[in-house]
C-alpha cells in the first residue's frame, strides 16, 4: 500500500519475542478500507493467539480535519466481545508516523515488557524497572529513558497489573476511552505498555487535490456555531447537563484538541495551582486533563465538588482505572472513600448498543441534530454507525458526533483522492455491516 499509509503491519509475539513485518496489501485496503475494518480482520487472522491489534485509520495524520484517531481492537476480557477502543490525543498520529499502520501483539510474555516503536523499528524491552509504577511514573520513566518528552505512550497502572476488570490502558498521563478492561488484557500478557515516536512521511496520491478538499471541508466546518465554543463542559451542557459550566469553570485552566480536531475536546483543570495562571506552572503536577464527559458527570452526580472530581479523575488516571466505573460502582461519595475503593470494585458497567464501541463518546449528537427524529433506536443505530465510520477512517469520535460536515461522502472522497483506490459507499456499507454484525 503506497499512499496514506506506511504500508507495514508489525506482528509481535510476546511468547517467543519474535518480531515480524508484513506488507499492508492494497487489496486489503480496497476491501476493508482501514482502521477498524482491518484491525478486526487481523484479530480474526490471529484469533488463536489472543491478539491485541493497534491500528490507525486510513485518513489518520493527514490534513483531513479531526484525523487524530487510532484504535485498539481486542476481545474484551470483561465482555468477551471484540471491541474497538479509540486512541485519542496525539497518540494515533504518532503510531502512524512511527512507521506502522497496524501492530498485532499476540501471546503472553514470561516477564514484564514494554514495546518501543520508533521510526520503523520495534523493540521488546524489559519492563521490570517500571512494573509496579503508576501510569504517570511509567510515562515519565519511558520519556526520560529515551530522552524525548514528546514520546507518546499507552500504559497500564496498578489496576492493569492487578488484572482488575476495570483496568484501563491510559494514554500518556491521561484516562482513555477504554471501558472494556483492556488494561487487564495488557496485564495478563505482562505488557506494561507501548511507547511511540516517529518522523515518517506519508505519501499522498494526489496531494494538491487532497489538501484543497481538506481546506474546503475545514471552511464548511468553521461555519458551525460550535466553533465559538471550547472544552468538555460545553459538550456536557449540549447533551443536557445543566449547571456544569458554572460548576467546573473555577478550576478550568485551558482547553486543548486532539490532532487537527477543530473543537477542543479536552479540558485541563488545576487544583494545586492557580487555574488562571498563564505562565508555566511551578508545580510539577498541578491538575489533570479531562476528556471523559460521562465520568465527569458521574462524579458530579455523586455530590463531589469540581475540585474533588478533578482529584478523583487524577487518582484514576494514575492508577489506570476506568473513572466511569469507579464513579458508577464504588457507591462512595467522598474523595478518600472513592480512591480507597479502587481495589474492591465489583459489578457490571453497562455498554450501549452492541457493546463494541465505547460510551466514553456521548451517545447522541452534540451541537447539531444530524436530522435525527428523536427516536431512541434510530439514535443508537446512528451512533454506532458514526463510531464505526470514525474508526475506519481515523476520525476523532467525539468530533464525529458533532460535525455533520465530516460526512461519509467527504471521508470517502478524501480517501479516494489520497489513495487512487475506488473506495465506494457500497464498500463502506459492507465494512460497517461487518463491524456491526
Amino acid at each position: 500500500m503506497e499512499y496514506l499509509s506506511t504500508g507495514k503491519i508489525l506482528v509481535i509475539d510476546l511468547a517467543t519475542s519474535k518480531i515480524e513485518e508484513t506488507a499492508l496489501d492494497e487489496s486489503l485496503v480496497s476491501e476493508k478500507i482501514g482502521g477498524a475494518g482491518i484491525t478486526k480482520h487481523l484479530c480474526e487472522k490471529y484469533l488463536n493467539d489472543d491478539p491485541i491489534v493497534i491500528g490507525t485509520g486510513l485518513l489518520t495524520g493527514t490534513t483531513c480535519p479531526a484525523s487524530a484517531g487510532g484504535l485498539i481492537t481486542a476481545k474484551s476480557p470483561v465482555t468477551g466481545k471484540l471491541c474497538h477502543c479509540p486512541i485519542i490525543y496525539k497518540v494515533g498520529i504518532e503510531i502512524k508516523f512511527s512507521g506502522y499502520d497496524y501492530i498485532v501483539v499476540k501471546g503472553v510474555s514470561d516477564n514484564p515488557v514494554y514495546l518501543w516503536i520508533h521510526d520503523g523499528v520495534a523493540d521488546i524491552s524489559d519492563a521490570s524497572g517500571i512494573w509496579g509504577k503508576d501510569v504517570w511514573e511509567s510515562t515519565d520513566s519511558l520519556r526520560k529513558l529515551m530522552g524525548d518528552d514528546l514520546i507518546q505512550t499507552m500504559v497500564i497502572g496498578k489496576a492493569g497489573e492487578n488484572r482488575s476488570d476495570y483496568a484501563q490502558i491510559c494514554y500518556n498521563y491521561w484516562s482513555s476511552p477504554d471501558r472494556f478492561g483492556l488494561g487487564k488484557l495488557f496485564g495478563s500478557k505482562k505488557l506494561k505498555g507501548l511507547a511511540f515516536r516517529g518522523m515518517g512521511l506519508i505519501e499522498v496520491a494526489d496531494h494538491e487535490n487532497f489538501v484543497r478538499r481538506s481546506l474546503e471541508i475545514l471552511k464548511e466546518i468553521k461555519t458551525n456555531d460550535f466553533m465559538t465554543k471550547k472544552g468538555i463542559a460545553e459538550i456536557a451542557s449540549a447533551i443536557g447537563e445543566a449547571g456544569i459550566k458554572e460548576w467546573l469553570e473555577p478550576i478550568v485552566h485551558r482547553h486543548s484538541a486532539d490532532y487537527f480536531t477543530p473543537y477542543a475536546t479536552n479540558t485541563a483543570v488545576f487544583f494545586d495551582e492557580d487555574p488562571k495562571r498563564v505562565e508555566e506552572s511551578k508545580v510539577a503536577e498541578p491538575g489533570v486533563l479531562i476528556s471523559d464527559v460521562p465520568a465527569l458527570l458521574a462524579f458530579k452526580k455523586l455530590g463531589l465538588s469540581a475540585e474533588d472530581t478533578g482529584r478523583a479523575l487524577k487518582a484514576c488516571a494514575k492508577y489506570g482505572i476506568d473513572p466511569a466505573a469507579v464513579a458508577g460502582l464504588s457507591g462512595k461519595s467522598s474523595l478518600k472513600e472513592i480512591v480507597d475503593s479502587f481495589d474492591g470494585l465489583s459489578g457490571t458497567v453497562a455498554l450501549k448498543g452492541k457493546g463494541i464501541f465505547s460510551p466514553w463518546c456521548p451517545l447522541k449528537p452534540i451541537f447539531n441534530d444530524f436530522g435525527l427524529s428523536g427516536d431512541a433506536a434510530e439514535a443508537e443505530a446512528w451512533w454506532e454507525r458514526r463510531q464505526a465510520v470514525a474508526m475506519i477512517f481515523g476520525i476523532q469520535p467525539i468530533f464525529s458526533v458533532m460535525c455533520p460536515e465530516l460526512s461519509e461522502e467527504n471521508m470517502l472522497e478524501l480517501a479516494g483522492i489520497g489513495t487512487e483506490l475506488d473506495l465506494t459507499q457500497e464498500i463502506l456499507d459492507k465494512v460497517v455491516a461487518d463491524l456491526l454484525k
Binding site: M199, L201, V204
Partner: protein, 118 residues
C-alpha cells in the same frame, strides 16, 4: 509581512506543523516544519507555538511573545524545550511563497484562527 501567533487562541492541535511540513515535502510529515507547537510540558498543560524565521526564533507563549535572534545565547532563566534544537536546523519561514492559492499554509489550516498575517 510576517506570521503573527496568538498563543492563547491556540488549541494545541498541531495542524500548523503538518501544513508547514506539507509545504516543504508534498506529503504528510512533521519533520520539515518551521512552525511547531511546543508541548513538552504536558502535565503542566503549558503549550504555545515556535516559529523559525530567517533570523529570528519567535516563541509565542501564553504569557506573551518572545523573539530571539538566532545565534545569540538563550536566556539562562528559561527552561529549554525539546522542540527548539531541531527547529534551528530547519529552513526558516518563507510565508509559503509558492502556495499561491492559500498563502501561508499554517494560517490557512489553523482551525482556531490563532495564526494571522501582520
Amino acid at each position: 509581512m510576517g506570521i503573527k501567533i496568538d498563543a492563547l487562541k491556540c488549541i494545541n492541535c498541531m495542524a500548523c506543523e503538518m501544513a508547514c511540513s506539507y509545504h516543504r515535502d508534498d506529503g504528510f510529515a512533521f519533520l520539515s516544519a518551521c512552525i511547531v507547537v511546543y508541548r513538552a510540558r504536558e502535565k503542566q498543560d503549558y503549550f504555545g507555538v515556535l516559529l523559525k524565521e530567517e533570523e529570528f526564533l519567535k516563541v509565542a507563549r501564553p504569557e506573551g511573545l518572545e523573539v530571539n535572534r538566532i545565534g545569540e545565547a538563550a536566556d539562562p532563566n528559561k527552561k529549554a524545550d525539546a522542540s527548539v534544537k531541531p527547529m534551528l536546523l530547519r529552513e526558516g519561514c518563507d510565508l509559503c511563497e509558492d502556495m499561491d492559492d492559500y498563502g501561508p499554509m499554517c494560517k490557512a489550516i489553523c482551525p482556531a484562527d490563532a495564526i494571522t498575517l501582520e
